[in-house]
Symmetry: C2
Subunit: 145 residues, 2 copies
Amino acid sequence: MTKNNTYKLTVCPMTYVLEILGDKWSFLIIRDMLFKGCCRYKQFIDSDEGVATNILADRLKKLTKHGLITQCKDPENGRQKLYHLTEKGLDLIPSILQLVKWSGHYDCNTVLSEKIMHYLNERFDEAVEIVRNEYLNNRHQPDQT
Amino acid sequence: MTKNNTYKLTVCPMTYVLEILGDKWSFLIIRDMLFKGCCRYKQFIDSDEGVATNILADRLKKLTKHGLITQCKDPENGRQKLYHLTEKGLDLIPSILQLVKWSGHYDCNTVLSEKIMHYLNERFDEAVEIVRNEYLNNRHQPDQT
DNA sequence: CTTAATAGCTTGCAATTTGCAAGCATTTTG
DNA sequence: CAAAATGCTTGCAAATTGCAAGCTATTAAG
């Protein structure tokens, strides 16, 4: 099976990531945290895609169990919880941006601004840093509706 | 919702890619084509993960419908079909390699060789080209078991 | 030419997962 | 204290999945 080729990348483990994120909703939850600043249950429910409440609860539990997000009580409102991405979760930004790039390129219904496409095409690593810093700088803010 | 921030990447379309690939099997099928040289029905069935035959047929149909793969008759054996990645499918290599990289980094059961991790970490674009060229050079070969 | 074997599916059915609606506990607001 | 909001949980119908069996077309063997 394995050829004696110096450059051949024969090993390609994806089962781990697909075990955690291989469904319709998990990636979207993380995307909503990164790009829409979602960090509360209600924000995810109100998000465009319309995830069912039991599915959301299940996925948040699963993502927490696998260490991609953390939960804590909102210090400003005790009936709310705050969900935040961990380092492990943030490290999915490159994967997510590649998927976004592919979608933007092949989905004719998607309009990605030229600037964003420029970043994704020519300065990918910068784009990753921008998204990451945006997230880290804006989280925990009192009102992010 | 959209802040007036020059660098904010607010639009993040992932629904398209998740519509096509947002399940347990689709990514694995493409991975098996890229990394294991799978191009026949039986090869996918015999692959480690054990996809059910009806699911495989459904996903191959779906991937074909969305233009990620093509089907043709095997010129050497009329009862076989050959499945090949299109440009659109090959353009998923960066996404897949990012997911592999993340899995390799966070799954302690996964052992990625240092050389592969080096490529993924330091020379990502090269790794993409290597995988792509490997695929293009090796497909259509008479026997790829 | 007949029979058997192989590849690529399709079909039937049970089990799991999803989606929707309703309900419930805790906290805050009036 | 009553009402509303938030973050869930529960029940149930509908959709999806997984397994086994079967079916068709092509090839191989006798």
